[in-house]
C-alpha cells in the first residue's frame, strides 16, 4: 500500500436500528430483540480505488452511506465483509474539536487533540505556534475553551487537524459550520495540502465546493455505488437522483 492510496473492495456493513445502541443483558441472555425495523445496509458491496494525490467527493442523499464510508476508511467502524486498506497517515475530520476538554485552555487542547491524532509531544511542540496562529485566537489561547465562541472553537479544531501532515485527508461536512472567511481559509489550507500530495476524500452536499476541490465523484445510493467518475458527470447523476427521489 503506497502512502495516500486507498482501497475498498466489496465492502459491506449493516447497522442494527435501535433507539439505544447498547443492548440490555436481558436481550443478550434471552435472545434477540424482537420487532422493530430490520438492520440497515449502510454499505452494500462498495468498491473503489483511490490513487495517491487524487481528490474524490462522495455525494448522495441522506442515508446513502457517505458518512459510514468515511468512518470505515478512517478505521473507526469495521466491515462485516470485504476489504478496506488505507496507506500512510490518515487524518479524519468528522467533527471539529471532538474530545476537547472544556476546562482545558486552547493551548492544552492542542496537545490533547494532537495526541488523539497520534502525535508525540515533540511533534506537537514543533507545530504549536503555527496551529495557534492559524486558529487566530489572540489572547484566548490561554483561556479555557469553555469561554470560546463557537467560531473560535471550530477554528481551533480545524487548525489542529490541518497541521497533521496527512497522506489521506477524510473530511465530513465540517466546512459547512464556520462563517465564509473561515471556510475560505480552510479551503486554502486543504488546497495546499493537496498540492503537497495528500489524497482527499470529501463528503459534502455543497455542489460548488465539490466542483472547486474534487476531480472525481462517487455517487452513493442506499449503500451502493451508483456512479464513479469525473466531477461534472457525477454531479449530474446526483442531481437527477435527487430529483427522482
Amino acid at each position: 500500500m503506497r502512502p495516500g492510496e486507498l482501497v475498498l473492495e466489496h465492502a459491506s456493513r449493516a447497522f442494527a436500528v435501535r433507539a439505544d445502541p447498547g443492548r440490555s443483558l436481558k436481550e443478550a441472555v434471552f435472545g434477540r430483540h424482537r420487532g422493530g425495523p430490520p438492520p440497515v445496509q449502510a454499505l452494500d458491496d462498495v468498491s473503489f480505488h483511490v490513487a495517491p494525490g487524487e481528490t474524490v467527493a462522495i455525494v448522495g442523499r441522506n442515508g446513502a452511506g457517505k458518512t459510514s464510508t468515511l468512518r470505515v476508511l478512517a478505521g473507526i467502524v469495521p466491515l462485516d465483509s470485504g476489504r478496506v486498506e488505507v496507506g500512510g497517515r490518515v487524518v479524519a475530520q468528522l467533527e471539529l474539536g471532538a474530545g476537547f476538554g472544556r476546562a482545558f485552555t486552547g493551548r492544552e487542547n492542542v496537545y490533547l487533540n494532537a495526541a488523539l491524532h497520534g502525535l508525540a509531544k515533540t511533534e506537537v511542540d514543533d507545530r504549536l505556534d503555527s496551529i495557534l496562529s492559524f486558529a487566530d485566537l489572540g489572547s484566548f489561547a490561554d483561556l479555557p475553551v469553555s469561554t470560546y465562541s463557537q467560531g473560535m472553537f471550530l477554528r481551533l479544531g480545524f487548525a489542529i487537524a490541518a497541521h497533521m501532515d496527512p497522506d489521506v485527508l477524510l473530511i465530513d461536512e465540517v466546512l459547512a459550520v464556520g462563517d465564509e472567511a473561515f471556510q475560505r481559509r480552510c479551503e486554502e489550507r486543504i488546497a495546499s495540502q493537496i498540492e503537497a500530495g495528500a489524497t482527499l476524500v470529501l463528503v459534502s452536499h455543497d455542489a460548488s465546493l465539490v466542483e472547486r476541490t474534487c476531480e472525481r465523484v462517487v455517487v452513493l445510493d442506499r449503500g451502493r455505488v451508483l456512479f464513479d467518475g469525473p466531477t461534472a458527470a457525477g454531479l449530474e447523476v446526483y442531481r437527477r437522483e435527487a430529483l427522482v427521489a
Binding site: 443492548r23 473507526i76 474530545g99 472544556r102 482545558f104
Partner: protein
C-alpha cells in the same frame, strides 16, 4: 499502550482538571470522604457497639477504607467512561483502552496522595516505621493492576450492555460490608470455610489485609497474601485487556 503514552498522559490531565475545576476544596474532597466514613464506622463499632476491641480503631478502619474507596471508585468511574466519551469514540480513531485506563489512573493519583497521609499518621501514632514498608509498592502496583483490569472489563461490558454499571453499583454495597474493612476476619469467625470465603474469594480482601499489615501493624504480610495480590493483579490486567481487545472493534457502533 506504549505508543499512546502521550495520549494517556493528556487524558489523565484532562480528567484531573475536570474533576477539580469549580470545586472549592478540590483534592481535599478525596480526604474528606474516607474521613467521614471512618468517623461513622468508628462511632458505630467503636463507641455505640464496641464489639471489636481494636487498638487505634480509627486507623485500623482508615487503612481498609482507603483501599476500598480506590477500588470501588475506579470501577464505578471506569464503567461509564466509554459512554461518557461516546462522541469522541464515534468520531476519532485512537486506542480505546486509554479512556478507562485514564480514569483509573486519576483515581490512583488521588489514592496515593491520601495513602501517603494515612501512612504518615500511622507511622507517627503506631510507630510502624519498619522494613515492612518496602513491600507496599509491590502491593500497590498489584492493586492498581487489579483495578485497571477489572476497570477495562466493566467499561467495555457496560458499553455493550447498559445494565452493567447499575449491577456494579448494586453489588458494591454488600461487597463493602463483606470486605474485612471494619473487622478482621479472625475476630468474627474461626470456621475454615467461612474464613476462606471472606479472605480469599473476595479479590479485594488480601489487598486490604496487606496494606493494613504494613501500615497499621508494621508487619510484612504473609507470603500467601502477597502471592495472591500479585497473581490477582496479573490475571485481572491480562484477562481484562484480552476481553477489551476482543470487544473493542465495534465500540464506535455500540456507544
Amino acid at each position: 499502550m506504549a505508543g499512546s503514552r502521550f495520549l494517556f498522559e493528556q487524558l489523565v490531565r484532562r480528567e484531573l482538571r475536570q474533576k477539580y475545576q469549580g470545586s472549592l476544596l478540590g483534592v481535599a474532597w478525596y480526604l474528606i470522604n474516607p474521613l467521614v466514613l471512618m468517623g461513622a464506622y468508628w462511632f458505630l463499632f467503636g463507641v455505640v457497639l464496641p464489639v471489636f476491641e481494636v487498638e487505634d480503631y480509627p486507623l485500623f478502619l482508615l487503612c481498609g477504607l482507603v483501599v476500598w474507596i480506590f477500588f470501588s471508585q475506579s470501577l464505578t468511574a471506569a464503567s461509564t467512561s466509554l459512554l461518557d466519551q461516546g462522541a469522541l469514540i464515534r468520531k476519532a480513531r485512537f486506542p480505546r483502552e486509554t479512556i478507562p485506563a485514564s480514569v483509573v489512573a486519576v483515581q490512583l493519583v488521588t489514592f496515593l496522595a491520601v495513602l501517603v497521609l494515612v501512612a504518615v499518621v500511622c507511622v507517627a501514632i503506631r510507630g510502624t516505621l519498619d522494613v515492612a514498608l518496602l513491600v507496599l509498592p509491590l502491593v500497590l502496583a498489584a492493586l492498581a493492576a487489579l483495578a485497571l483490569g477489572l476497570g477495562l472489563v466493566v467499561a467495555v461490558l457496560h458499553a455493550y450492555f447498559r445494565d452493567v454499571a447499575p449491577i456494579l453499583g448494586a453489588a458494591l454495597l454488600p461487597w463493602f460490608f463483606l470486605s474485612p474493612i471494619f473487622f478482621s476476619v479472625e475476630r468474627i469467625t474461626q470456621g475454615g470455610a467461612e474464613r476462606f470465603v471472606l479472605e480469599w474469594l473476595n479479590p479485594v480482601a488480601p489487598f486490604i489485609l496487606a496494606v493494613r499489615d504494613v501500615l497499621y501493624a508494621g508487619e510484612v504480610p504473609p507470603a500467601d497474601v502477597l502471592a495472591y495480590c500479585v497473581v490477582a493483579g496479573a490475571v485481572a490486567v491480562l484477562g481484562g485487556r484480552a476481553l477489551f481487545r476482543r470487544l473493542e472493534p465495534e465500540l464506535a457502533v455500540v456507544v
